[in-house]
């Protein structure tokens, strides 16, 4: 049952991702991405990582993608023209993607040390908190500082320099 559901939602996820690329209207692409996020959340849930699944929905589908849709609505982005892309992309991109996929699959099949059964992943919030706030405390804090820097950068970019405002007022 778990395996069937896992495969079904895996297919939904891939279908959403392909649809994201094929759709010509940005808002349809954004909604396909929401479907991908939702399907990924279900995959996490099936693996037993319930907290990650919930956070995936709340943060990615519920906040970040809403902002994506918001920006698309605000800019009133229209339909895009379908092009066939450059020839280099076809010649190098497709074989490259296949090669990377095969490589990842091969590496996963070779290395079976980290495997657990479906639904047995230590995904309880308490387990996750142990890992995050004890074992990986430093990376966690470093990431938070990175995010802080990004926020400050956004504020600096969004705030108009005072000199510009003053010159406008003088005019």
């Amino acid at each position: 049952m778990h395996l069937i559901l896992f495969s079904v939602f895996g297919l939904v996820c891939v279908a959403g991702a392909v649809n994201l690329l094929l759709q010509r209207h940005p808002i349809n692409s954004a909604l396909s991405l929401v479907v991908v996020m939702g399907a990924l959340a279900v995959e996490y849930l099936l693996l037993g990582a319930e907290f990650v699944a919930a956070v995936q929905v709340i943060v990615y589908a519920g906040a970040i993608m809403v902002l994506f849709v918001f920006v698309i609505m605000l800019l009133n982005a229209g339909e895009e023209e379908q092009t066939h892309g450059s020839r280099v992309a076809w010649l190098l991109g497709l074989p490259g993607m296949l090669a990377v996929t095969v490589l990842i699959c091969w590496a996963l099949i070779q290395d079976r040390t980290g495997q657990v059964a479906i639904g047995q992943l230590p995904g309880h919030p308490a387990d996750l908190a142990q890992l995050l706030f004890h074992q990986f405390l430093l990376p966690f804090e470093v990431t938070s500082i990175l995010v802080l820097i990004a926020i400050m950068g956004a504020v600096v970019l969004a705030a108009r320099p005072e000199s510009v405002q003053e010159t406008k007022r003088e005019q």
């Binding site: 929905v57 809403v66 309880h124």
Partner: protein, 348 residues
């Protein structure tokens, strides 16, 4: 419990709870019209049935038989999908909300809840955070300036207030030590100082969190004084300007179902859920928790309507400043203080 029986019991529970929820949605509309009417020195609905009690049924019939207009300028797939998205997410979140203790029928324990998941609170927050798509997409796909402005306002407002809403609940989670809604209610059992119930609203300064939660929830459900997405004085009807008949009704169903979810969550997290004095014969004792829970939900819905009848609408910049510069810092301060109190005096 055998799997077949489990499925049958679940289906019965889902049907019952959906019926109760949708009836409650219809009668919350009636209650709102009646209460706001009295507050404004009017009668509210009086014509259909005694006290206008059959008005929701009449409205339902009217919505079903009105012409379902689709304006020619809309983006059809999303225009049709948006009300469905809104109503589906509004109704789904009721699935993890517990209404009372377990009851025992024929030797089987049946929890009064569709499904008990140990991340219940996160599930509710996740599902309600998806509800914004219904509003945002209806605004965009209607292809009209009023709808678009309403949709834009809704998405900005809901994303902003979701942060304060989520943070206000972390204090309760720290005190309870679990994400399970049933576990949170169980953590509020008993009394302290002999007579004050052990509800989270009375403990560790959570009364602040309670007010942050209620305020942010009003903004999340687009209710007055935060109903800028449908501000009728400036945007006609905001995001649902172009909708008619049942599609229009679906937005209302979503709004009132969301209000009921907010009321349920507030009762569970801050007011001890279904706890209350039990007395009388055994059958009454089994049903009293349901009554206490319904009473709390009713009080919250009444406060919703009361606020609507009292407060004027915010201006948009006031709304954003209030959310980001007042509610969010307050929620963070409350979180830090609660964490410190629990860390320093673990038994308190």
């Amino acid at each position: 419990m055998p799997i077949a029986l489990y499925i049958i019991v679940s289906v019965i529970k889902i049907a019952l709870i959906l019926f109760v929820l949708l009836t409650a949605v219809a009668y919350t509309v009636w209650l709102e019209r009646k209460v706001v009417g009295r507050m404004q020195n009017r009668w509210g609905p009086t014509r259909v049935g005694p006290f206008g009690l059959l008005q929701p049924a009449a409205d339902g019939v009217k919505f079903l038989f009105k012409e379902d207009l689709t304006p020619p300028h809309v983006y059809k797939p999303l225009y049709i999908a948006a009300p469905m998205i809104a109503v589906i997410f509004a109704v789904t979140s009721i699935a993890v909300i517990p209404f009372g203790n377990k009851i025992t029928i024929a030797g089987y324990d049946i929890p009064l809840q569709i499904t008990d998941v140990n991340i219940g609170l996160l599930v509710v927050l996740g599902i309600t955070s998806l509800g914004v798509y219904g509003v945002a997409l209806s605004g965009w796909s209607s292809n009209s300036k009023y709808s678009l402005l309403g949709g834009l306002r809704a998405s900005a407002q809901m994303v902003s207030y979701e942060i304060a809403l989520g943070l206000s609940l972390v204090g309760v989670l720290i005190l309870a030590g679990t994400f399970s809604l049933r576990g949170i209610v169980d953590a509020q059992a008993g009394h302290f100082w002999g007579f004050i119930p052990n509800w989270f609203i009375f403990r560790g300064g959570q009364i602040i969190a309670f007010f942050i939660y209620l305020t942010a929830a009003y903004a999340e459900t687009n209710r007055i004084p935060f109903d800028l997405p449908e501000a009728e004085t400036e945007l006609v009807a905001g995001y649902h300007t172009e909708y008619s008949a049942m599609k229009f009704a679906m937005f209302f169903m979503a709004e009132y179902a969301n209000m009921i979810t907010v009321a349920c969550l507030a009762s569970l997290l801050f007011l001890g859920g279904w706890r209350g004095p039990l007395f009388g014969p055994p059958i009454v004792q089994e049903l009293l928790p349901l009554f206490w829970f319904a009473l709390r939900v009713f009080v919250f819905l009444f406060v919703y309507i009361w606020v609507r009848g009292t407060l004027p609408r915010f201006r948009y910049d006031q709304l954003m400043a209030f959310g980001w510069k007042f509610l969010l810092p307050l929620a963070i301060a409350n979180l830090v203080v609660t964490a410190l109190v629990v860390g320093l005096w673990p038994g308190a």
